[in-house]
């Protein structure tokens, strides 16, 4: 653990940071009238559209008043209004970080979980936290993989931007825990405002370095403040965490297209350290968070199917807001080895080059390259150029998506879901997605047949993994088809509200087709499951061929 990471001094620096953000945003706003009008328009629209609290009624009235008054103000008054409004946003966004709370809570995660399981133990916990500290209880349930040593070394030399995949509201907690487990300093991150109001999760959100992002606010000044805030933090060496997918993956699939806005601030931050003659290199760490079961799977996939891709930004009332579901999820997590796997990928610089543990950049042929050369103009001067940086970031996004594919960790539920879903497809060969999904509790697969399908798919996944295209863990590599099916059944059972797969006398009944779709989607982009979730404009991955014999089977003369 590095106690000298900048975040431990965050509270002292907070005011300074907000002031820097405010002055930079105000200075870069060329037309205050336009900016304030835009804000008034979007805020009025937002507040009018929703059920309002008395507080928000007042807010709405203020915006309406401001919109009327703006035209009559002179430039000085407008600038003043702008400055005070930007400052208001700045403080609303700025997070908190209490190192004491951080230390206690990162150590306390297991006891907190214990509390969730049996609330009465909290009293004991409060008297003597250490008695209940048992980090090792989670060790084999939550696995942390990847070049951890290298990342530790790197975090002393440069500024990390962690960019994991995003499936669940548990992600930021789980990822924070993974950083702690890996001996890496905590990272600051923008958490949706709804997480701060979520009765279950808010405990973790406060005081752990999160800043608040209100995704309902759509105007440009707000976005400017967020980006500038993120940039200033990076410039000052705060390690950051972004979920570049933007929102939780509704389909359960690995992100194939990213929201680049916040990521793009990394190059500006780096260029600014160069301009200030205080070069501090920035590096990205792609990571995957893989769940045997996902806390909010039911809500997310329902949302995906309801709006087919136009996922709602905010879901206020999913499973993560219900204590019972979080408890059940935690219990499941404690029950299953390797229930969550966080895998850090290889670090890369903002220009897509590989980075070594000393924060040196190397191109794909292993030649060292100076990252500063990418932000210099023809006269060799470092420049800030948002258009240029947006292009670099776009290419970086493609690199990160490739890393996601390589670092996806296949778990038993994904394989069994993909094999079951393939059975469903075969039961209605010409069917579109919704026809296939309608076959709830219709198809029963003999256990041996399903186990055989699972082994075929597993073998194909292992082939892909050996080429570096995905990660297949030790258990999955060696287990029998029957054992893999058993483990998936055990993972599904007792957490999801209704059975996903139900053991019957004549085999295994495919019951919750939506959830199976959700879990098989994790392998869709790899071409290892039916890919109907490719983003618009992107060709779907080629479907797996279940009937083609694997190389091994072919050698044995087609044993199946």
């Amino acid at each position: 653990m590095q106690d000298d990471a900048p975040i431990f001094g965050f509270n002292a620096a907070r005011e300074d940071i907000v002031r820097a953000v405010v002055s930079r945003v105000v200075l870069s706003t060329k037309d205050p009238l336009l900016a304030l009008n835009d804000a008034a328009y979007h805020e009025t629209k937002r507040l009018e559209a929703q059920k309002r609290s008395p507080e928000e009624h007042k807010e709405l009235a203020e915006w309406q008043r401001l919109a009327r008054a703006l035209g009559r103000m002179d430039d000085g008054e407008r600038r003043e209004k702008l400055a005070s409004f930007v400052e208001h946003i700045g403080w609303d966004v700025a997070g908190n970080f209490d190192p004491r709370v951080f230390k206690v809570s990162s150590k306390l995660l297991p006891p907190i979980v214990t509390y969730l399981l049996a609330p009465r133990t909290l009293a004991r916990l409060a008297r003597d936290p250490r008695r209940l500290v048992s980090l090792s209880a989670l060790d084999d349930k939550v696995r942390v993989e990847g070049p951890v040593e290298e990342l530790r070394e790197l975090s002393r030399r440069g500024t990390a931007v962690y960019v994991p995949t995003h499936l669940s509201n548990m992600d930021s907690i789980v990822f924070g825990y993974a950083l702690e487990r890996a001996g890496l300093p905590p990272a600051t991150y923008g958490a949706g405002k709804n997480l701060f109001t979520n009765p279950v999760l808010s405990f973790f959100m406060h005081n752990l370095g999160a800043y608040r992002v209100d995704r309902r606010i759509r105007h440009n000044l707000y976005k400017d403040v967020l980006k500038t805030y993120s940039c200033v933090l990076l410039e000052r060496g705060y390690h950051s965490l972004f979920f570049p997918g933007g929102t939780r993956s509704r389909s359960g699939g690995v992100e194939r297209r990213l929201k680049l806005g916040l990521m793009g601030t990394a190059i500006e931050a780096y260029a600014r350290t160069l301009l200030a003659n205080k070069e501090r290199r920035v590096y990205f760490v792609p990571a995957t968070i893989n769940y045997l079961i996902t806390l909010e799977a039911e809500t997310l996939i329902a949302d995906f199917l309801a709006e087919a891709g136009k996922g709602r930004f905010i879901i206020e009332d999913d499973e993560s807001s219900r204590l019972g579901r979080v408890t059940a999820f935690m219990r499941k997590m404690f029950d299953m080895q390797g229930a969550v796997v966080i895998r850090f990928g290889k670090p890369i610089d903002p220009f897509g080059n590989v980075v070594d543990e000393r924060c040196r950049s190397f191109d794909r042929r292993g030649r060292e390259v100076d990252p500063a050369s990418y932000v210099k103009d023809e006269a060799g001067r470092v420049t800030l150029d948002p258009v240029r940086d947006a292009q670099y970031t776009r290419e970086l996004g493609e690199e990160i998506c490739k890393a996601y594919l390589r670092d996806t960790v296949v778990l038993e539920t994904h394989v069994v879901a993909a094999a079951s879903f393939e059975r469903l497809r075969r039961a209605s060969p010409a069917g579109d997605l919704f026809t296939v999904l309608r076959q709830r509790d219709v198809v029963v697969v003999p256990r041996d047949d399903l186990a055989r399908d699972v082994v075929k798919l597993r073998d194909r996944l292992v082939e892909l993994a050996d080429r570096g295209g995905i990660v297949v863990g030790g258990y999955l590599r060696t287990a029998s088809g029957g054992d893999i099916v058993e483990r998936a059944l055990r993972a599904f059972a007792g957490y999801h509200a209704s059975p996903v797969l139900a053991p019957r006398s004549d085999g295994i009944a495919i019951v919750d087709t939506n959830l199976l779709f959700y879990y098989q989607n994790r392998l869709a982009a790899h071409g290892m499951a039916w890919d109907v979730i490719a983003p618009p404009g992107m060709p779907p991955a080629r479907p797996p061929v279940f009937d083609k014999p694997t190389a091994q089977e072919a050698a044995q003369g087609g044993a199946s």
Partner: protein
């Protein structure tokens, strides 16, 4: 000796006719040019500095690659030792990679540390550049500064430079136009009249645009100067290598011999069957490319012409 001179503004890699033509055009527009050539050739332009040293070329910030696609990887790897993030690397290679259908700029990204990349396209021909006859060229890059630098280096009274940000689209369009130009030469020689020729070109362009969409490019790039514009030039350009090759094939000249007649390397030959396969995989209707593929495989000319039109 050159160390004391001011750094050249443009480096061109490739001593073949295309590389020399580009070097000449940049010189005409007032740029200080250094040309990398492995051929020991006497030059009629005393102002052009020629080198065999990649480090010399890399002294220029803007480097233009004009080598045949099969050697591109090796050249880029060697050149890459001397490049950095400050370089703007642009290529004028018509063709897509042999392994997959990767573009040459994908190769540049793999083999060099340069990231600010671009590609040249459009109807302009080597001969026009050498002689200074008016023509038009397209630079595709996602980086405005690359478009600006190429425009500065090449634009003059006899060469107009247009920019597009669909780099990948331009690379695909150039490669597909190379394929379709063979068809144009073939059809002309096989006796197609203006109506049939126009129909073939329009259909071919339409198919190419669909293929490009399937490959993640912008369709409209194919309908612009780098696609349609480039292909239209094939009608008039008797000496365009692809056209020469197409005509020879229509006269039932064997492929090997036809390649010899085309003089310049025709990148489209290995590409056509791969494009036909790609179309099949992605379920894109591309009858023209299928017919071209059959022509290269030695199909009967008249039957092929019929199929290009009816298939």
């Amino acid at each position: 000796m050159t160390e004391h001179k001011q750094a050249p503004s443009v480096g061109v890699v490739g001593g073949g006719p295309w590389g020399r033509a580009l070097a000449t055009a940049a010189r005409r527009a007032g740029a200080e040019v250094v040309l990398h050539s492995r051929r020991d050739q006497k030059d009629d332009d005393p102002g052009l500095s020629v080198t065999v040293d990649y480090a010399e070329v890399a002294r220029a910030r803007l480097v233009v690659i004009a080598v045949p696609s099969p050697v591109a990887r090796g050249v880029l790897r060697a050149l890459g030792d001397h490049l950095g993030g400050q370089h703007l690397v642009v290529h004028g290679v018509r063709g897509l990679g042999a392994e997959g259908l990767e573009t040459v700029s994908d190769l540049v990204r793999e083999e060099t540390p340069a990231r600010r990349l671009g590609a040249l396209g459009g109807p302009v021909q080597a001969g026009e550049l050498i002689e200074g006859r008016p023509s038009a060229m397209v630079i595709g890059s996602r980086f405005p500064e690359v478009i600006a630098a190429v425009t500065r280096a090449f634009q003059g009274p006899s060469l107009r430079v247009y920019g597009t940000n669909d780099l990948r689209g331009l690379e695909w369009a150039s490669a597909l136009v190379g394929c379709l130009s063979i068809g144009v030469g073939y059809a002309e020689e096989a006796g197609a009249g203006p109506g049939l020729l126009a129909a073939l070109i329009s259909r071919g362009v339409e198919e190419a645009a669909r293929l490009m969409a399937a490959a993640g490019c912008e369709e409209r790039t194919m309908f612009g100067l780098g696609g349609y514009g480039d292909l239209l030039a094939s009608i008039a350009l008797e000496d365009r290598p692809e056209v020469v090759l197409g005509k020879a094939l229509a006269r039932k000249v064997p492929l090997e011999q036809a390649i010899g007649m085309a003089k310049l390397r025709v990148e489209a030959i290995p590409l056509i069957p791969r494009i036909a396969r790609f179309a099949e995989e992605r379920k894109v209707d591309a009858a023209t490319f299928r017919a071209l593929s059959d022509i290269l495989a030695g199909g009967r000319p008249q039957a092929m012409l019929d199929r290009m039109f009816s298939g």
